[in-house]
């Protein structure tokens, strides 16, 4: 499955900028960046991205909650979600996967390799 549209969710504008350049410039994808879980739900509905890159630590609605909400919506439930986070202890990783995420990308990340990693995760989860 090839990726064309990516929804990027992160409350930190700096990371949004960097990730956007990376996904667009290196990955060649169409990127929509939003700053909160609420916006994410709207954008997911309206744009139907191929993959959602979701930050964990966000105020008001955090990553896992956003994921849960996405899963509640039948149409949006099938969109693969990859968590994007600085917290990467094993037990946390397991819990994210248990929630239904396709994978985790840890911060800091290599912006040149980010698209590749995303593809790798999607490929692995499809098998």
């Amino acid at each position: 499955m090839s990726i064309e549209k990516v929804l990027l969710v992160d409350d930190d504008p700096r990371i949004r900028k960097i990730a956007q350049i990376s996904l667009q410039g290196v990955g060649g994808w169409n990127v929509r960046a939003v700053s909160s879980g609420f916006e994410a739900l709207e954008a997911a509905s309206s744009d139907r991205p191929d993959v959602i890159l979701l930050d964990v630590m966000m105020p008001e609605m955090d990553g896992p909650t956003t994921l849960a909400r996405l899963r509640e919506n039948a149409e949006l439930a099938s969109i693969p979600v990859i968590f994007f986070t600085a917290k990467v202890q094993k037990q946390e990783v397991d819990s994210y996967l248990a929630l239904g995420a396709a994978g985790i990308i840890s911060k800091p990340f290599d912006p040149m390799k980010l698209p590749g990693e995303i593809e790798e995760i999607l490929r692995a989860s499809n098998n």
């Binding site: 350049i21 990376s22 911060k107 800091p108 912006p111 040149m112």
Partner: protein, 858 residues
């Protein structure tokens, strides 16, 4: 001895005191007898006085002279003399009864009475008996002296009166001169027996006195003892009460709850702390099952059933069982607790003592620490993400082209940033590991899986630097470990090894069993680490001095982290090295006994290996590497010995390490050959070259050069023993009969066959299976052999497959060429023997292996 005899010996008395006492008692007794007898005599004298007076009056009241009568003299004698005789004795009896004087006086007096009575009776012989009577009475005194005195008085009296007044004593006018003597003899005769009687009597008295003294003494002793024991008892009772009070105080004031639980799980006692902790009064919880207070022990709910399991576990263990759990206080409030259970057996009464500690605070602190790490980790990483991201994009050219210098600077910044990220990761990991707070996810894994993982991670790095990674002997013994962490450690060690390896060097990995543990070793051929540098290695922020820039990429924490990980698994880590001699970094992971790997019947069955070795080095090598429970090794020194051993049991593998084979060796080889034909074993390995004709088949490998290279030996043996003695071969042959025969023939030699009746089928099989060799019949129906080979050439994975072309007719050179891909041999069906067939297969397989190795070496 006429004295009253003392008892046998003074020693008969239990002590001088007792003796003294018994003597005293005896004397008292005697004195009492004297007094009593004195008194008796007192009355007797009075009686005799009165009696004799009356008798005199009766018998001869008057004396007649003519017609004048006056009172007979006897009467006056009786009254007057009687009075005189009585006076002193009676006085003495009254004044000092019991004395010797009194007695003697009485004795004399009594005998005088006898005399008087005889005189009054006019010497009648009957009254002489009064003498004997008196003596008998005097014997009452039990004092022989008295008898002497009495006898003397009597004798004197008889003698004197015999001369001067015979009528008053004998009743005759003239007495014989010896008559007094005759009478005295009778007295002596009487005395003799009386004295004996006195002696016996006194002895009995003494004995009784002694007994009494002893009894008194015993009674005293017992009384003393009773008093003493009573005092002791009181004292110990007091001590007991004190000690009980102390223990009670400790029990009640202990900071943790102490509960004793009966065998059936009900609560027997609980201290005050328990009451406070749980909010129940003791009477409320007494008799209730312990699950009333404890909800969960470890990860399990505590119920009446699960309690039995804990109870039994306690009973078996020597130390207390200590676990975390959840307690249940009043109002169904849950408390995090730490509970330790120990088994107590008090004279058959079995109890479990539970000490319960409220660890809410500790848990809270732990949670705070954990949260701290989380936050710190997050707070450090977030800005680094921006830095790394920005630099990465600029470096990657996403913002356009940059002047060279700018790019260089950005490069420097990005590298430093990477280093910082690694450092933070390492520091946080290390802090957690050292605090024991690192959560390991342990599971069962085999060393070969683990090494495989590490190899995969480091392959790229090794290839980049032209270093070869080799896997040496790897045991199958599984261990319980956190795979990711151990992998992290191994990757660290391997990366170091790669960094420090010389050009085209080799890094070898191995995992062997050593002393209840699996020992992982990463060995490099670099410049080694001198002894004085070694102790600093595993400390934090240590870099072994190096002038080479590229060796400074590390964070300096890698080995410290390895050490912490290994130690958290209960293992040890270290290095064996010296300057310019490379380095072997090793670590051990203990294997809990009982988990030891036992090869199952089919899986690699314990191979029986016979080594014929005239030098001992090979033996050591094999011992070290083959001990991992896979092989039973028998070491013999020559072929004769070997024959005997082999005759008892056919080995799976025979290793010939003989430099100059002699007659016996060759004979043995023959024997092995025939054995193989029958049993499909043994496989033979030679350390020196042989020509095909001599070698018993199938020969797996030949080690041509001496000195024998350890790695190669080990690898080859492993292969031989590991039995892929079961190579897989694809047989492509359309004629079923021929095919079956081929399969059968090959099967005898332990070769597993995949069958295809045509080229298409063969290709299909190749898509899914990986045979090591193809036996190909040229004349196939659907596509001929040539086309098949062409198709094979097209498939990249099949290009290296060895081919055994097996045809019914001889092939021309051109045909052969067409049928060749990689290694190929050609055999004509009718002309080739079974042996040739199998040898050819073997040879091909071997050629492939050698080539693969050669490629890896280059």
């Amino acid at each position: 001895m006429l004295f009253s005899p003392p008892l046998k010996a003074k020693e008969e008395s239990s002590s001088p005191a007792t003796y003294t006492r018994s003597e005293y008692l005896f004397d008292q007794q005697r004195h009492a007898i004297y007094v009593r007898t004195d008194k008796m005599f007192g009355w007797l004298f009075i009686l005799q006085w009165i009696g004799s007076a009356i008798a005199a009056l009766l018998i001869s009241p008057y004396t007649w002279e003519g017609t004048q009568h006056s009172i007979h003299i006897h009467v006056w004698q009786a009254i007057v003399l009687g009075g005189i005789v009585n006076s002193l004795p009676l006085f003495l009896v009254w004044k000092q009864p019991g004395t010797l004087l009194t007695r003697q006086t009485i004795a004399i007096a009594q005998m005088l009475w006898s005399g008087l009575i005889i005189a009054i009776s006019g010497g009648r012989i009957e009254t002489h008996f009064h003498v004997f009577g008196s003596l008998a009475f005097l014997a009452f005194y039990r004092d022989w002296r008295v008898l002497l005195t009495a006898s003397a008085i009597t004798a004197l009296d008889h003698f004197l009166r015999g001369i001067y007044a015979p009528a008053s004593i004998y009743g005759v006018q003239v007495a014989e001169p010896w008559r007094w003597f005759e009478h005295s003899t009778w007295v002596v005769f009487c005395d003799f027996f009386l004295i004996i009687s006195i002696r016996h009597s006194l002895r009995d008295m003494r004995l009784m006195a002694h007994r009494q003294a002893e009894l008194e003494s015993a009674k005293n002793y017992v009384e003393q003892e009773v008093v003493a024991r009573t005092a002791e008892l009181k004292l110990s009772e007091q001590n007991l009460r004190d000690s009980e009070a102390t223990i009670r105080a400790i029990f009640e004031t202990a900071a943790d709850s102490i509960i004793t639980i009966a065998e059936n799980g009900t609560i027997e006692t609980a201290n005050q702390t328990c009451e406070k902790m749980y909010g129940y009064q003791f009477h409320t919880i007494f008799g209730k099952h312990i699950s009333f207070l404890i909800k969960q022990i470890g990860d399990e709910l505590c119920t009446e059933d699960s309690w039995v399991k804990w109870r039994d576990m306690c009973r078996v263990r020597r130390n207390a069982l200590r676990l975390e759990g959840i307690g249940l206080a009043r109002g169904r409030v849950e408390i995090p607790i730490e509970i330790s259970l120990s088994f107590v057996n008090l004279k058959g009464k079995k109890l479990i003592t539970a000490i319960v500690r409220d660890i809410s605070e500790r848990k809270e602190a732990e949670r705070r620490v954990s949260e701290f790490y989380s936050i710190v980790s997050h707070e450090l990483r977030t800005p680094l993400t921006s830095i790394r991201g920005s630099l990465g994009l600029i470096e990657g050219g996403m913002t356009g082209d940059l002047p060279v210098e700018t790019l260089e600077l950005v490069n420097i910044a990005r590298e430093s940033c990477d280093r910082l990220i690694r450092l933070i990761n390492d520091i946080l990991d290390l802090k957690k590991l050292e605090a024991g707070k690192f959560e390991f996810h342990k599971m069962e894994i085999t060393p070969s899986e683990l090494l495989g993982m590490s190899l995969a991670f480091t392959e790229g790095m090794a290839r980049e630097r032209g270093i070869r990674l080799e896997l040496g002997w790897t045991t199958e013994q599984p261990i319980i470990a956190d795979t990711d962490r151990l992998n992290q450690g191994l990757v660290n060690l391997i990366s170091n090894a790669i960094k420090f390896s010389p050009k085209a060097g080799v890094v070898e990995l191995s995992a062997t069993i050593a002393d209840n543990a699996v020992r992982f070793v990463v060995r490099d051929q670099g410049k080694g680490i001198s002894k004085d540098q070694q102790h600093k290695l595993f400390c934090k922020f240590q870099q072994v001095d190096s002038s080479d820039k590229r060796e400074q990429e590390g964070t300096g924490l890698g080995l410290a982290i390895c050490k912490a990980i290994v130690e958290q698994h209960g293992g040890q880590i270290g290095v064996e090295s010296d300057s310019d001699k490379g380095a072997s970094f090793w670590f051990t992971i203990p294997v809990v006994s009982g988990e030891f790997y036992k090869p199952t019947e089919d899986e690699g069955r314990t191979s029986y290996v016979v080594v014929i070795d005239d030098a001992s080095k090979l033996g050591d090598l094999l011992n070290r590497h083959l001990l991992p429970s896979r092989c039973q090794l028998v070491h013999v020194h020559d072929s004769d010995e070997a024959s005997k051993v082999i005759a008892e049991r056919v080995p799976d593998l025979v290793i010939f390490n003989v430099s100059q084979p002699d007659e016996a060796d060759l004979e043995l080889q023959e024997q092995l050959r025939s054995l193989y034909a029958v049993h499909n074993k043994p496989v033979v390995l030679f350390t020196h070259s042989t020509s095909d004709a001599d070698a018993p088949s199938p020969v797996r490998v030949e080690w041509h050069k001496r000195p024998v290279k350890e790695e190669i030996v080990v690898r080859d043996i492993k292969r031989a023993v590991d039995s892929s003695n079961c190579p897989t071969v694809l047989v492509v042959e359309d004629d079923p009969g021929t095919r079956k025969t081929l399969v059968h023939q090959l099967g005898k030699y332990g070769i597993r066959c995949l069958e295809a009746s045509g080229g298409e089928e063969g290709l299909n099989i190749l898509a899914t299976e990986n045979p090591e060799l193809i036996v190909l019949d040229v004349g196939l129906p659907d596509m001929n052999g040539f086309d098949f080979v062409k198709r094979l050439r097209e498939e990249p994975s099949c290009k290296a497959l060895p081919l055994l072309v097996y045809t019914g007719r001889d092939l021309t050179a051109a045909e052969r060429r067409d049928l060749t891909i990689g290694f190929t041999r050609y055999l004509t069906k009718s002309k080739a023997s079974e042996l040739e067939l199998v040898s050819a297969i073997d040879e091909l397989l071997e050629k492939v292996r050698i080539e693969v190795e050669a490629k890896a070496n280059s």
